[in-house]
Each structure stands twice: as C-alpha cells, then as structure tokens.
C-alpha cells in the first residue's frame, strides 16, 4: 500500500466519533461572521447595520484575487459590525447577525435530489466557485478558484482529492464520504473539468475501509476517478506528502503543486463545489467533529458558519468538567482556544476537548541526540539543529538549513523523548527568516 516516503509517525488515532451520523446543529440566536476566513487579502463588508439578509446572500466581497466571498449563513438582521476573536486569539473585524427564522435565497436548491449533469465550461465553473466563496476546507483555507487557475505556462495533468484526514480524533470528512459519496464524486468530476484534467485520484487512509469500499463502488459509474488507499501515516494529509504518496512526485522546495502537474483539493471542498455548482448554494455551512474523551455525545455536526462554538458545544452537553484545553482542529496542528466565543469558520474542522492531566507539557530535558526528530521529519529537516539555532538567533544558518521548508506538522515536538519544544523555536525561526527574506526581496 502506498504512503509518503520520508519520515512520518502514527499517533494514536482516537477516532471516537467515527461512524456517527452527521447531525444538523440547531440555529444559534446570533452568528458572528469574520471578514477574513481564508488565506489572502481581507474582504470588504457590503452590508450595513440594520440590513435584513437571507441565507446565502453575499455579505463580504473578496478583497482581491487571492481572497474569497463570504455569504450570510442565516436569515436575520445585521446588528453590528465590530470585532470578534478568532481561533488564534486575535481580534478580527466581523459582521454580527441576529437570527430571525430561516429564510433562504430562492435561487438555492434545498432538495436532496442528486444532479449529475454539468454543462458549464471550465471558466464558468471557476467563476461560480469564486462567487460561492469556496476555500480549502482541510484547514489551510486557500481559495479554491486560485488553485484551479494555474499561473501562465503551467499546466496540471492530475487532480488529487485529499480524503486522508490524518489528524487524530477528526472524523468529519470520513462521515461526509459515507453519507454523500455520489455528491462528492460529482463534485470531483466538476473539479476535473475546471482544472482541465482527465484523471483524478482520491487518497484515503486505510483506517477508513468502509469509505474506501463505498467510494470504489460508487466510482465505477464515473470515468477517470481512482480511489487510492494509503497506509496510515501522519502527516499524509499535508499537500506535499499526499502528492508524493499518491503519484510519487516531490514538489521542489518553495514551489507550488502545479510545478509537478498536480492540483490538490480537500474532499469536503469537492462536496462544497457540488453544492455550489449543482444546487447554487454558496459556502454557508460545514461539517465539524466535536470530540474528546470526556465528551459524551461526541459526533459530527453540520454547523452554519459564524455559529459561536459555545452554542454548538451546549448541544453536546456543555464543556466537560475536567477540560484543560480546547482545540480548534486536530491535536497535531490545531489551535488552542482561549474562549469558546470563537465562531465556526470555513477552515474549522473540529472542536477537541483535552482533559487537564493531558493538557500540560512535561518538563524539557537535555537533547540526547537520538535523532528521532531527524528520522521522523517528513521534510528531511534537522529539527534539533534548527531549535538550537533558534535559541541563539542564528537566522542566516536557519535559512541555510531550510527552516522555510517546515510544514509545522509538529512531529518533532511530538516524538522527542526529552519533551523539547522543537516546533516552537522553528516557528520563531520561520517568522523571523520570512521577514528577512521579504525585506531582501523588497530591496531588489
């Protein structure tokens, strides 16, 4: 069975909510929609306080090519345009909407009927995806239309669908595949057309055998789509690692996937594309996993974007007594939250509760030079060296030792027997070296 070739670990999977039916979360009283929900430029609000909006109505216009539209996920009245706190703990501008009823735009097809035929051209598909505000839903939130429009002179020959879900605990993509296989495959076909490729691979890790089987059977009635089971190995969901695992091509340092002829899209993105093209529904909701060992009703929930996390958490019985840390996303790359007022956004894949006893780091000890971090690093870096350079502010040396290649998967800190905070120092290095590089380029 295929896997990426360099490094990697297999953390305890803890997929507690696997197989749990997707449940529609109840509407909150108020949604908070941040103006920035994707990589790139922040958007411009096109509504004013007091406006009445419907579900699916545009409220934030993209602030450039690398940026994405945002639509109202509820119907109601704009009560304020102020700031909210995001998953990283920063204050960000946001639109507040008081929910009244649930009135959708008439153009949106809310039935469950499958629509397979799509007669739009590649350009029309990309335009619709742009309008619908679709971004990569695996967490990086890169605008989908940008990935589908390669820079001049470059051409993709293969589409890879990321259905790996290699983070422990998370099960939202898995469950979506089990419940919406046909819709996903139609979405993949549309994406193939948009990217002008004839071949698509769907990479799924082998701990989701039911999804692999189901999609294999379903894919028989589609042309050019192949399901690729992958050996479980973190971080296989990393774009570079996935391309290596599925088609054996390695992206050179600093280059984009299209350099090796690949376009990668998340499986939930493929579903959102289906809804946008065939059902005229912009990206207004997503499936998230609510999980943790002390959560009783852990499961997969379809949540309207902008719903404050505490509103969703109330529905699963509130915050568990012993909670020490709450994470937006998975335990390897997710962000620790300082409050549950943070709204669910396009890139939120889950809310994970970690009990107090497991929430603190252990004391750091001397590096015993066991080379675990070097052997397990999926990018072939030397985390132990980067950390000691970081401690000594040796930025030139860090750049030479390719700190910018780090994908921040967290394996080095995870695997270190001396509990050294390797990634913390590597992040420090990435931020500083990034600034140095930008200054250098600005001078030229």
């Amino acid at each position: 069975m295929k896997r990426f070739k360099m490094g990697g670990v297999h953390p305890k999977e803890n997929k507690l909510s696997a197989g749990k039916q997707i449940v529609e979360a109840t509407l909150p009283k108020q949604v908070v929609i941040p103006l920035v929900q994707s990589l790139g430029a922040p958007g411009q609000s096109v509504v004013a306080v007091g406006d009445v909006v419907k579900v699916g109505q545009l409220i934030v216009k993209a602030g450039g090519f690398v940026s994405a539209n945002i639509h109202s996920s509820v119907s109601g009245k704009i009560s304020a345009i102020g700031t909210t706190i995001d998953a990283s703990g920063y204050n960000v501008p946001a639109v507040f909407i008081e929910v009244e009823g649930d009135e959708w735009l008439k153009t949106i097809d809310r039935t469950n009927d499958l629509k397979r035929e799509c007669n739009l051209s590649s350009e029309e598909i990309i335009k619709t995806i742009t309008d619908a505000g679709i971004v990569g839903m695996g967490g990086a939130t890169f605008p989908t239309h940008v990935k589908l429009s390669p820079p001049p002179g470059k051409k993709a020959d293969v589409l890879i669908i990321n259905a790996v879900e290699c983070e422990p605990y998370l099960t939202c993509d898995h469950q979506l595949m089990l419940e919406k296989p046909l819709e996903i495959l139609v979405g993949v076909t549309i994406l193939m057309k948009a990217a002008k490729v004839t071949k698509a691979y769907i990479g799924i890790e082998n701990n989701k055998k039911d999804a692999i089987e189901l999609l294999k059977q379903t894919a028989r009635s589609f042309t050019g789509i192949e399901i690729v089971p992958l050996r479980v190995q973190y971080p296989q969901g990393g774009e570079k690692q996935l391309i290596d695992a599925v088609i054996g091509r390695q992206i050179p340092s600093g280059a984009l996937p299209v350099e090796v002829g690949a376009v990668v899209q998340n499986v939930a993105t493929a579903f959102a594309v289906y809804e946008a093209i065939q059902k005229h529904k912009p990206l207004i909701d997503r499936v998230i996993t609510i999980t943790g060992k002390s959560i009783k009703s852990h499961g997969n929930y379809r949540v309207r974007l902008g719903t404050p996390m505490n509103s969703v958490v109330e529905q699963v019985g509130g915050i568990p007594e012993d909670t020490g840390k709450i994470i937006s996303g998975g335990p390897m790359m997710g962000k620790a939250l300082k409050t549950l007022e943070v709204p669910v956004v396009k890139g939120t894949s889950g809310i994970l509760f970690i009990p107090t006893f497991a929430a603190t780091r252990k004391n750091m000890q001397n590096c015993i030079r066991c080379a675990k971090c070097v052997v397990d690093c999926p990018m072939g870096l030397e985390p132990f060296l980067l950390m000691s350079q970081g401690e000594r502010s040796m930025w030139t040396e860090m750049e030479k030792d390719r700190v910018m290649d780090c994908i921040e998967c967290g394996i080095c800190s995870y695997t270190c027997p001396s509990n050294r905070p390797l990634l913390d120092y590597i992040r420090l290095g990435k931020t500083t070296v990034g600034k140095i590089i930008r200054n250098r380029q600005a001078k030229k």
Partner: protein, 322 residues
C-alpha cells in the same frame, strides 16, 4: 473548569522518554548479560554491580555537591553507562579498578561537558580505555569460561582468540563455540548470538536504526576478507573470525550506537560505521593491541561533529524533478 491552557501545537506527545529509551537498551542487554553470568559467574556479578552502583553514585555526588544542580540519576543513563562499562571488562579484575574506571567515565567523560547529551565521547569506553592504559596487565587477562563459575579473582585465566592470533597460543575455539560465547573475553562480549538477539530487539522497538551496526559489521567483514583473500598466510584470520571475536559485536551494537556520540542522520551514520570498521581492522591486523574497536569508536566519536556539519539528510523534493 479551571482556566484554559493555551500553547502552540502539537497538543499531544508520543509518551516516549529518555528513561523509556534506556530501559529498552537494558532489556536488549539481558541476553548478553545472562551469558556473561553463566560463563563467568561470581566475578561477572561483582563487577557489574560495582560498576553500576559507582557510576550512579558518582553522578549523584557530582550533581549534588559539585554542580549543586538538579539530580537526574533516575533517567537511567548513569546506570546504563555502568552496565556497559562492566560488559567491557574482564571479570577477574579487582573492584577498586572498576570504581576508578567508573569515576573516569562519569567524572571525566560525562559530567564536565554538561552531563547527558553533551559528552563528545562515549563515557563507558573512555572509562574502559583509561583502565586498559592504566592497568594493562589486569585488563588483558581473561578468565576461562566455566559454566556457573564461583571463582572471582582466583579464576583460571586464558588468552582470548584475538590474543591467540597475535601471540603463540594455539587453541582457537571453533566457530560455533565462538558464536554462542564459549570463549575467553570480557563479560558482555563473548556471545555474538546473545548480542544479535539484543540488536534485533532494539531494531524492532526502533531504539536504534540498522545503519551503524550493519555498516560496521559489513566493513569489518569485507575489509578483513580482502586482506585474508589477498594473502592468507600473512592474514590468517578469516572475516568470520573477525566478526565473532573480541568486542566487535558488543561495540557495533551497543557502544557505537550510543545516541549522544553518534551522527544524527542515516548518511552520517553509514560514514561513521564504515570508519569504525576500517580503524578496527587496521588496529587488529597492523597495530600492537589485539583489539581495536574501543579506540575505533572513540576516534569516530571525535569525528561525529564534523560528520553532522557536512552530511545533511536528504531533503524533501531535492532529487526527483520530473
């Protein structure tokens, strides 16, 4: 609910720890230790306990009273140094010499450099080589292997097969006996079989990777094979003889793979292993000492920082570009 804890990712840890790694090495040493106990009996017991106790005691005393810092004897590294030192000693050596060797290992080779993780040379080997140079007579007379031997200082002695090769003795044990360990030698080095069992265990548990031990053994085998093939009269020892005698297996599997003093990536590990193999054979064949692996490992320990600087791991996306 108490206050929420905020920290950067990752939020989980593998649960691995230094003592966990050390325990793994201890488990891997059990077969070789038992063989040592079986053939050398009382002497093996006395020197191993002496070495372990004195290494831990010296580390404790230095950390507590000289450095006045935190005491880390419970991570198991000093205990392991003691055991490895004992495995490298003849079992009829007086206790006081073992204590001196332990003092050199911990007090000279390890703690002055900053303790665990910072020592450039393998502490157990520094202790052993110090003893070899200071007490040459005691360090080069090995007891005859007698099952369940109850003699210690008064044990019958004989030369090791390697010494036989250098000198004028004539009773070289057959290959099978050399493989299972029925031969003279240091406490932990006699049984290649037991040491290989330990290696397999460490490989399965991923405590070590194959690169260092395999490259050492292959280099010794090939290099001594070439010499033997080119001139069997001058170089009478066969490659197999070189592999199974002396401290080669113990050195390749347990001493050279010491984390702190060996290179940090597979390419570097191979260079290091080949270097140890070549130096070992050169000392054995051309040098005046019958055995050379301790010196070979220490020399390559000294080269390790250089290897780490110039040999970099293969980076992602570096070679293939279709």
């Amino acid at each position: 609910m108490a206050k929420l804890i905020i920290s950067p990712s990752p939020h989980v840890h593998s649960g691995d720890s230094i003592s966990n790694k050390m325990i793994g090495v201890f488990i891997a040493l059990i077969p070789a230790y038992l063989v040592g106990l079986y053939f050398f009996g009382l002497g093996a017991l006395i020197i191993s306990i002496t070495a372990m106790l004195s290494c831990v005691a010296f580390e404790y005393l230095i950390q507590k009273f000289l450095l006045k810092g935190s005491v880390t004897i419970f991570d198991g590294s000093a205990l392991l140094t003691g055991l490895l030192l004992a495995m490298n000693l003849p079992t009829n050596i007086p206790v006081w010499m073992v204590v001196v060797g332990s003092l050199v290992a911990i007090g000279v080779a390890k703690m002055p450099f900053g303790g665990l993780g910072n020592n450039p040379f393998n502490p157990a080997l520094v202790g052993r080589v110090f003893m070899l140079i200071s007490f040459p007579a005691a360090m080069t007379v090995w007891p005859v292997p007698v099952p369940l031997n109850m003699h210690y200082l008064d044990a019958l002695t004989a030369a090791t097969p390697l010494a036989v090769l250098k000198g004028q003795f004539s009773n070289i044990p057959d290959t099978l006996n050399m493989f299972i360990g029925h031969k003279g030698g240091s406490m932990g080095e006699v049984s290649a079989l037991a040491l290989l069992v330990g290696m397999v265990y460490m490989l399965i548990r991923k405590i070590i990777s194959w690169h260092i031990p395999v490259s050492i053994m292959l280099t010794v085998f090939v290099f001594s094979g070439i010499l033997h093939w080119a001139n069997p009269n001058a170089f009478i020892a066969t490659p197999l003889f070189h592999l199974l005698t002396g401290g080669l297996m113990l050195g390749a599997i347990f001493m050279a793979t010491d984390y702190v003093t060996s290179p940090m990536n597979p390419g570097g590990m191979l260079i290091y292993g080949v270097g140890i193999g070549i130096i070992t054979v050169v000392i054995r064949v051309f040098g005046s000492y019958p055995e050379g692996i301790s010196f070979a490992i220490l020399i390559m320990n000294g080269v390790t920082p250089l290897i780490n600087t110039y040999v970099k791991p293969k980076r992602f996306g570096e070679v293939k570009k279709k």
